[in-house]
């Protein structure tokens, strides 16, 4: 009984990082100081069909996932994680910030980027 429990714990200890890595690859992190919840809800609804999770953080050092979106005042840069580095793959202009049109622009760009990185 004890041996079975130890075996299960050993298996889980190896399986958890693998699952976390798969989840990271389908996750987009929005990095910004003031990203409204409505923007996050909108992007989740728009990218739901692609099976992408959206999370937010205020600092880039806390960002995880395959794609990191740095949101500035009038633009947004989309970076892809290549090993341990983030490589910018695309930039989207946001003439009026993340208003209705701005978040739609970001959603269109993210949709293409996610599809291009799918096998």
């Amino acid at each position: 009984m004890i041996r079975a429990a130890l075996s299960a714990a050993l298996v889980l200890s190896f399986a958890t990082p693998i699952a976390a890595s798969a989840q990271d690859s389908a996750e987009i992190t929005l990095v910004g100081q003031s990203i409204r919840p409505s923007v996050v809800r909108y992007l989740r609804a728009q990218l739901e069909e692609l099976g992408v999770a959206i999370r937010t953080t205020r600092h880039a050092r806390d960002a995880r996932g395959a794609l990191v979106v740095r949101v500035a005042r009038r633009s947004a840069s989309i970076a892809s994680r290549e090993g341990s580095e983030l490589v910018e793959v695309r930039s989207v202009s946001l003439p009026h910030g993340l208003d209705t049109a701005g978040r739609a622009r970001l959603a269109h760009a993210l949709r293409t980027v996610v599809r291009a990185r799918r096998p």
Binding site: Y42, A45, Q46, V89, R90, S91, V92, S93, P95, H96, D99, T100, A101, A104, R105, H108, A109, R111, T112, V113, R115, A116, R117
Partner: protein, 307 residues
């Protein structure tokens, strides 16, 4: 011949026999002036009752008549002592020695007299006109002529306006095709319309979302949201509404209006996919155009993978 005034006197004194009553009734029904005279007499009863007990209207009238007789020229016959029609019946003779009721208050209102209240509403314009015509009957033919001329002129004007000859007086109104507009979105701006449309997309209300996108493009074609509405409509037509031909047109419209936009590679990719889904001959050219114009983009990567 019985005089009308005598009948009225008998009526007011209460001595009217049935035969005279029938005659008076016939006169009153046939002559409006007679009815008015009788009504005036009834109205005159009130001030007589409101007068002070010492004030005798009959004496006043008699004094005035005597003064008129005194001032009358000698050639004119004096007025008769009693007119053939005396609307005011002689007051009941009160013996001088009889004590007057001192403490009895005099009635001051028509209500106290048991009579209906007089209407004090001003006459309407029509009533005033009727009164004037009654006083000046010579105006009637002129008024009738004015009405006829006015009617004819109005008729001629209407005929000239609406029943003209070969050339109509008013240019025909060309009906513009009215696009369906949802009543609740008429007062919305472009920002709200885009939000409504994308909310409809999230709720799988694709037809409504397409209408909202089209309304935004029609009402606010130069707004910042118009470009996103064009792209959203194109994606909706391609992926949800199964209308790749319309989607290709929408993507093409976006590329024509915004060739240097950040999202132009995405629109070019969508156009190529739409043309391919529609079976059009331009699909291969569209894929090649992506490779040529946006070689480093994700759209070009997807295009290479597709080929």
């Amino acid at each position: 011949m019985i005089v009308f005034e005598d009948l009225v006197d008998d009526l007011r004194s209460g001595d009217l026999d049935p035969a005279s009553r029938r005659q008076l009734s016939m006169v009153l029904q046939s002559q409006r002036g007679a009815r008015m005279d009788l009504a005036m007499l009834d109205l005159f009863d009130e001030p007589r009752q409101l007068a002070d007990a010492d004030f005798d209207v009959a004496d006043l009238v008699g004094g005035v008549m005597a003064q008129l007789d005194a001032e009358r020229p000698s050639g004119v016959a004096p007025a008769p002592e009693r007119l053939p029609f005396d609307p005011i019946p002689a007051p009941a003779t009160v013996p001088e020695e009889a004590p007057k009721p001192a403490a009895t208050p005099l009635p001051a209102t028509r209500a106290a007299l048991g009579k209906p209240r007089l209407s004090r509403r001003p006459m309407t314009t029509t009533q005033k006109l009727a009164v004037q015509l009654e006083r000046r009957p010579f105006l009637r033919p002129w008024l009738a002529a004015a009405v006829v001329l006015l009617s004819l002129s109005m008729g001629w004007t209407a005929r000239g306006l609406f029943l003209g000859g070969a050339e109509p007086a008013i240019a025909p109104v060309i009906k513009q095709p009215v696009l369906p507009t949802e009543p609740e979105t008429r007062s919305l701006g472009s920002d709200d319309l885009l939000a409504f449309a994308e909310n409809a997309v999230a709720r799988d209300q694709h037809a409504r979302a397409a209408r909202l996108y089209q309304e935004l493009l029609r009402r606010f074609p130069r707004s910042p949201e118009a470009a996103m509405a064009q792209l959203g409509l194109a994606r909706l037509q391609l992926e949800e509404l199964a209308d790749p031909a319309a989607a290709a047109e929408s993507y093409g419209a976006f590329l024509s209006a915004h060739p240097d936009d950040d999202l132009a590679p995405d629109a070019a990719l969508g156009r190529a996919r739409a043309l391919e889904a529609a079976g059009g001959a331009g699909a291969d050219a569209a894929w090649r155009a992506i490779e040529e114009r946006y070689p480093q983009s994700d759209a070009a990567r997807l295009g290479r993978r597709h080929r």
